[in-house]
């Protein structure tokens, strides 16, 4: 991604943008997980204002893509789920940020 070019030396196009992250709610979830080490479901729900169903739906998509790792444990007798970005997820988010920055900075005034 040096100078906004990919491995083949071509400028990335808008079509190359990671659509999984591009969706606003998933972007919000990814951004929150990017700035912390790990967070539970409730924390993300509070910070993003997403409903439980909405958040779990986006989370399962991110988990399927390998961007989010789900840690399950028990706090006493209650199940507790911690979520964190995988290395792949962090890289994908950084790439997305760089690509969007590159794309938008190239826009004429």
């Amino acid at each position: 991604m040096a100078n906004g070019r990919d491995d083949s030396g071509q400028r990335p196009s808008l079509a190359d943008i990671d659509r999984l992250i591009h969706e606003p709610a998933r972007f919000l979830v990814m951004a929150h997980l990017y700035v912390v080490e790990a967070a539970d479901f409730l924390f993300l729900q509070r910070q993003t204002n997403l409903t439980w169903g909405n958040l779990s739906s986006h989370m399962s998509k991110l988990e399927d893509a390998g961007y989010v790792h789900v840690e399950k444990s028990f706090k006493g007798k209650k199940p507790h789920t911690m979520l964190r970005l995988t290395e792949e997820g962090r890289k994908a988010f950084r790439d997305y940020r760089d690509r969007m920055q590159e794309t938008l900075s190239a826009l004429p005034e």
């Binding site: 951004a31 929150h32 990017y34 700035v35 912390v36 080490e37 790990a38 967070a39 539970d40 479901f41 409730l42 924390f43 993300l44 729900q45 509070r46 910070q47 439980w52 169903g53 779990s56 739906s57 989370m59 399962s60 998509k61 988990e63 789900v70 399950k72 209650k78 199940p79 507790h80 789920t81 911690m82 940020r97 969007m100 920055q101």
Partner: protein, 237 residues
């Protein structure tokens, strides 16, 4: 660069949400009140041992409120989060600063046997009171910076003012309850702010429905995500 800045703000907002519950404020207020608790009991005629136990009891109550409040009020409402390495370093530095301040307190107490307490500044305030005040300003100021907790700057001033104020009220003003009065005056703003914040926090973040499901398995997540909106209500109804 704007993306970097807003990500920083996002993290800061998430981090600071844990100070919105007012529990830190109540804890610090009770801790300061505990310092005046012992002298208050002494002024009421209690023996030294009971005065010390009384002060420690108020401090223990503060600790209990802090840990129980965080566990029973904050975490069930805000959730759990592990912040990044920079925050962990900040927290460790704050712990080091607070530990160092305890050492300064112990040193001051030890020095009081040497007669240093008789040295006064402006013929009214003993030197240890000023050292204590300076220690509070430095310790709370550094902790506020490391913890990114801006209200601590104001509390540094209140902590620093308490001891010299107590000396002035007890000494030149000749008030019999000068010590507890000074510590009550200094701790009241913290306790009031803490209680107001706690009430606002409880209103802003009510406990969710007790049967809010937690995603237990990948399959459960998928099944829930494919349920059409409104279907669950119809099934319940």
């Amino acid at each position: 660069m704007s993306e970097t800045i807003s990500l920083k703000e996002l993290e800061r907002k998430a981090y600071r949400s844990f100070f919105k519950d007012g529990i830190w404020d109540i804890y610090l207020g009770l801790l300061l009140l505990a310092m005046g608790g012992g002298p208050a009991l002494l002024a009421l005629g209690a023996p030294l041992v009971w005065a010390a136990i009384g002060g420690l009891a108020v401090a223990a109550l503060g600790m209990f409120i802090f840990f129980a409040g965080k566990r029973c009020l904050t975490v069930p409402r805000l959730g759990t989060v592990r912040f990044g390495p920079a925050r962990k370093v900040g927290r460790k530095r704050a712990v080091v600063v607070f530990s160092a301040s305890v050492l300064v307190g112990v040193a001051l107490f030890a020095l009081s046997w040497t007669g240093i307490t008789r040295i006064t500044v402006l013929e009214a305030i003993p030197l240890p009171a000023l050292v204590f005040a300076a220690n509070c300003i430095v310790v709370f100021g550094l902790a506020a910076y490391f913890l990114d907790f801006s209200r601590l700057y104001a509390y540094a001033v209140l902590y620093a003012a308490a001891f010299p104020l107590a000396v002035l009220l007890h000494g030149p003003a000749q008030l019999p309850y000068g010590w507890p009065l000074a510590y009550s005056i200094a701790s009241a703003p913290m306790l009031i702010i803490g209680l107001v914040l706690l009430i606002r926090f409880l209103r802003e973040y009510p406990l969710g429905p007790p049967n809010t499901p937690e995603p237990c398995s990948q399959r459960q997540l998928r099944v829930r995500s494919t349920v059409a909106p409104g279907t669950e209500e119809r099934m319940d109804g």
